[in-house]
Amino acid sequence: MIQNDTIIALATPSGAGAIAVIRISGPEAIAIASEHFESVSGKKLSNQKSHTIHLGYIKEGANTLDQVLVSIFKNPHSYTGEDVIEISCHGSSYIQQQIIQLFLRNGCRTATPGEFTLRAFLNGKMDLSQAEAVADLISSDNAASHQIAVQQMRGGFSNEIKVLRSELLNFASLIELELDFSEEDVEFADRTQFKELLKRIQKVLQGLIDSFAVGNVIKNGIPVAIVGEPNVGKSTLLNAFLNEERALVSDIAGTTRDTIEDEISIGGIGFRFIDTAGIRETQDIVEGMGIKRTFEKIEQAQVILLLVDGPQLVSGNQKLRNTVLDFEKLKNKNPQKPLLLLINKADMLSKDDRLQINQHLENVHFISAKRGIGVDELRHSLLNFVNTGALRNNETIVTNTRHYNSLLKALEEIEKVQFSMKENISSDLMAIDIKEALYHLGEITGQVTNDELLGNIFANFCIGK
């Protein structure tokens, strides 16, 4: 639908890359971006000239999400002809999503496919030759983008919505009929059946919405938390997986004060490793915050790696006891999650040391992150968690943020209709909410009726184009 509101989407291909560009367009684009951007120069974004680039941070409150470059394009001199902000951020899917979600919470709406181009066209920003190129895109990409959409909606999700939507449409028409013929003797929409239908729709929508969390896991990688005391080599392990110096590594305990994430593909499955600050009790405020976040991250992770320093472990009984306690604690707190105990710096352990450790702890992996010993085996173990089905299920899952948003809105409207039924609110008013629900369900299935058609015009474009 063509609207006057402010839209946001990823303009670069989804997935990890060196950098990613997030595009925001609409009357509030500059104001909203300004609200969450802190320039290194201290200048306010909203006071800056068009066609300028600014280095700074995307902040959510006191929390920095990423260091970014922000480009400003003021209307009408922008791609869409509206005020446009382009944020070049670091390329991890996680960061992209964090930034997009932040703006969605603060007044932006997810752009529908091709909406930027549609706006560009409507604002007279495209000449004929450009527009013809666009037309080629539409005709050539039709089948392909359809297939992508179908792939995105696994396991009959689209069909299920389609069926429910047509049932809802049917009731909507009955209600309309009832309204227009309220003076004549026509059959009325059966309220009991209608309530039952609403309940079914609500259940399906809620299920799909819940699946978004799972869907996100598969799309954005399986989160793996690496937990351990400071300086046990968490960052080194991460680097061993990544083969590049991305995490900050030093010998001073507590160097990694914030969580750092990276995604690597193992056997075709994305794993998102979350390097956390340790869980050591601390007086340091900054580090204390880091520890709190570590526990939050463990919450979100699907797999937990507890990393301990081998030589330290055998240096005294206290250390060993603590590790056993930590292990039990993590296991009890996350009974469903695979938990691996990794003994790092194993190259510095003697045979006796290993025996001693094995006596107290089960199922341990001896590795050396620094020398790359046991890392391959660890990779296999991680894949096994996936292959044993712990993270796999055949249920329908939603992975597309746009679908997710439509589902949320549809559910909201369905709940309004249920409320109206309960409160005995007149059916002509209820019809407004039903129409809105139909609209949002139609956004998912791509069905076109009346004004839904207008929004569908450029629907074959990639999102963000």
Partner: protein, 622 residues
């Protein structure tokens, strides 16, 4: 006899013709109304009622624009009902029962009292067309009358054919001649024509009915009215009555089916599905062995009665026998039998939004000639044709009402864009933004537009502004004034709503379901305000709706605004669709024929797909 040239000639004196003549003349056009029988101006050919669901809103819109239908209806009303009062305000629909003779008389007097309207009684048998432009009309006596524009409002008269059972005869209405010549000439000029069908029930002698066996259908205890002007509210009213058919009645009717023109193939054209004849109802709803019938008086004094719900073209003896089996109709005497009528219409996709034909400049069509049914639909088209004929003659921009501005806008856009296969009747569900198109705010929506083009007078405009200002002030009063729990809780308790603990602005409890203005009026602070500011019911109603339904209204406004964006993408008048090979064949054909004005309109044409629209957008190039 007609030496001078008229600005506007209106052919036909029904609801469409009368409104067209009044509008053009009131705007200053020298206008001639030509009709076959001047005694029959403003006839109610079918039921003696105005308004109803969606139609009542149209009458209010006509009135807000400065048309006469609302005033005439008020002056001739014998009963008033606000339908659907239990539903949301978009569904509230005013309807009057009218004195048929008085209605026609009031129309005639209104027109006679309108400066610039001349009258002439004769059949128009042809049009004067010069170089694709209208030049006037030709009558059956061979008289040529010149004019700048012509508005055709022929109703059911063009080659009208009346059917009663196996009998058929030419006629435009019971007892009136059909009109010939115009269809043939228009087809010659390149117009496409079609046939439609409609029907009407028998009229009977009220003295022969036993009302004690029927249920009484009275008017509202507090009747309202159509017009925003100072017409009078009814002081006393006449009742209608209700009875119903039975299995026996249905069996008796079925006996005549083999002689029914509907079933023996004599009538091929499509009738309205939603105003079916009794034989149609029996046929389509075979499992129902009873249908409602409303018994409606035709006036204050006359004994003639209209039998609503019993429209039929079965043989008169079958009609009579079956009706005598209806409860209360055991001794019924007929004034005249029901009949079906077939007539010529011109698919309205041949028109512009001004109702001017695309083929002949300054020729306008309004009413049943465009495939619509209903007095209100006809009257509103007549009004718009009259307005736009005048505006075009004076080189002013046209008045085109948008779909979120008026039912009239929805009606004309639907006709022009989608055409119609069966007689088109307005429904509230045809309007996407029903909640905006209410009967209570037609004046707020439309009077300023009409005032700007010089039709609605100063008095109307002032009335509207006063209502607007007073209702806005009242809304603010509710938003700014607090109410104590001890004052509001008794009201909340009465409607089973949870009590409040702290004092709050009054609009909050007022917004709750089932709390009404009548409840709020019991608060002294509210009643004082109303008295001090001398607020009438219209203002109270307006404020109540604005407060209680603001969420829904705002939601529909947002949706309507979306539509306006694509309305802004205009398609040039001479756009050549045949060159766009990437359009589907059907789209090319339909777009070439309908010539939509905007992308938005193009997207509403059936058979035009989203991909056609994107191709179109691209090739428009802007």
């Amino acid at each position: 006899m007609f030496g001078e040239k008229y600005d506007v000639i209106v052919v036909g004196g029904g609801h469409a013709g009368a409104e067209a003549a009044a509008a053009a003349a009131n705007m200053g056009s020298k206008t001639l109304l030509v009709t076959m029988n001047l005694q029959n101006i403003g006839q109610m050919s079918c039921n003696p009622a105005m308004g109803g669901i969606a139609k009542g809103q149209i009458v209010r819109e006509i009135d807000a624009l400065g048309g006469y239908s609302g005033i005439v209806s008020d002056k001739s009303a014998i009963q008033f009902k606000m339908l659907n009062k239990s539903k949301g305000p978009a569904m509230w629909s005013p309807r009057t029962q009218n004195d048929r003779m008085l209605f026609a008389e009031e129309w005639r007097l209104m027109l006679e009292g309108t400066p610039n309207v001349d009258f002439y009684q004769e059949m128009v048998s042809g049009l004067l067309v010069e170089n694709g432009k209208i030049a006037g009309v030709k009558t059956s006596l061979g008289i040529e009358i010149k004019s700048k524009s012509v508005i055709l409002t022929n109703g059911t008269f063009l080659n009208g054919l009346i059917h009663i059972g196996e009998k058929q005869f030419g006629g435009g209405r019971a007892g009136e001649k059909a009109a010939t010549g115009i269809t043939e000439q228009l087809v010659e000029l390149g117009f496409e024509s079609g046939r439609m069908k409609t029907g009407t029930p028998p009229r009977v002698d009220g003295r022969s009915l036993d009302y004690s066996k029927m249920s009484v259908q009275p008017g509202d205890a507090q009747p309202e009215k159509f017009s925003y002007t100072n017409t009078q509210v009814l002081q006393h009213q006449r009742d209608c009555h209700m009875t119903h058919t039975s299995a026996l009645v249905h069996d008796l009717l079925r006996e005549g089916f083999d002689r029914s023109p509907m079933f023996n193939g004599r009538i091929k054209s499509l009738g309205p599905r939603y105003c079916p004849s009794i034989e149609d109802k029996i046929n389509r709803f075979a499992d129902k062995d009873s249908h409602q019938m409303f018994v409606e008086p035709e006036g204050w004094k006359t004994v003639e009665v209209y039998v609503n719900g019993f429209s039929t073209s079965l043989p008169e003896d079958v009609q009579f026998k079956a009706l005598r089996s209806v409860v209360g109709f055991e001794n019924v005497k007929f004034f005249r039998p029901g009949y079906a009528i077939e007539y010529d219409y011109f698919p309205p996709t041949q028109l512009r939004h001004t109702l001017e034909t695309k083929l002949v400049e300054n020729l306008y069509f309004a009413g049943q000639i465009n495939g619509t049914t209903g007095y209100e639909e006809a009257a509103s088209q007549g009004l718009m044709a009259g307005i736009n004929a005048h505006l075009k003659n004076n080189e002013q921009s046209p008045l085109i009402l948008k779909r979120d501005e008026a039912y009239i806008g929805v009606l004309i856009d639907d006709l022009i864009t989608k055409g119609t296969e069966e007689p088109y009747r307005m429904f509230t569900s045809r309007a996407e933004y029903r909640t905006l198109l209410r009967q209570d705010n037609a004046d707020l929506r439309l009077t300023p537009l009409s005032y700007a083009i010089g039709l609605a007078d100063e008095d109307r405009m002032k009335r509207m502004e006063e209502k607007l200002n007073k209702s806005e002030a009242l809304v603010n009063f509710f938003k700014e004034t607090s109410v104590l729990p001890k004052d509001i809780n008794p009201i909340l308790k009465e409607v089973d709503s949870a009590p409040v603990k702290q004092s709050d602005k009054m609009y909050k409890p007022f917004s709750r379901p089932n709390v009404t203005m009548d409840h709020m009026k019991t608060l002294p602070i509210v009643s004082d305000y109303i008295t001090t500011h001398n607020l009438d019911n219209e203002v109270l109603e307006q404020a109540e709706i604005q407060i209680k339904y603001s969420g829904y209204i705002a939601k529909e406004k947002v949706n309507a605004d979306k539509l306006h964006r694509l309305e802004a993408v205009k398609i040039p008048d001479n756009f050549d669709y045949t060159k766009l090979k990437s359009l589907s064949f059907e789209a090319r054909e339909k777009l070439s024929k309908i010539k939509p004005v905007t992308i938005s309109q193009a997207s509403r044409i059936s058979g035009v797909t989203p991909s056609d629209i994107s191709v179109l957008l691209v090739f428009l190039g802007r």
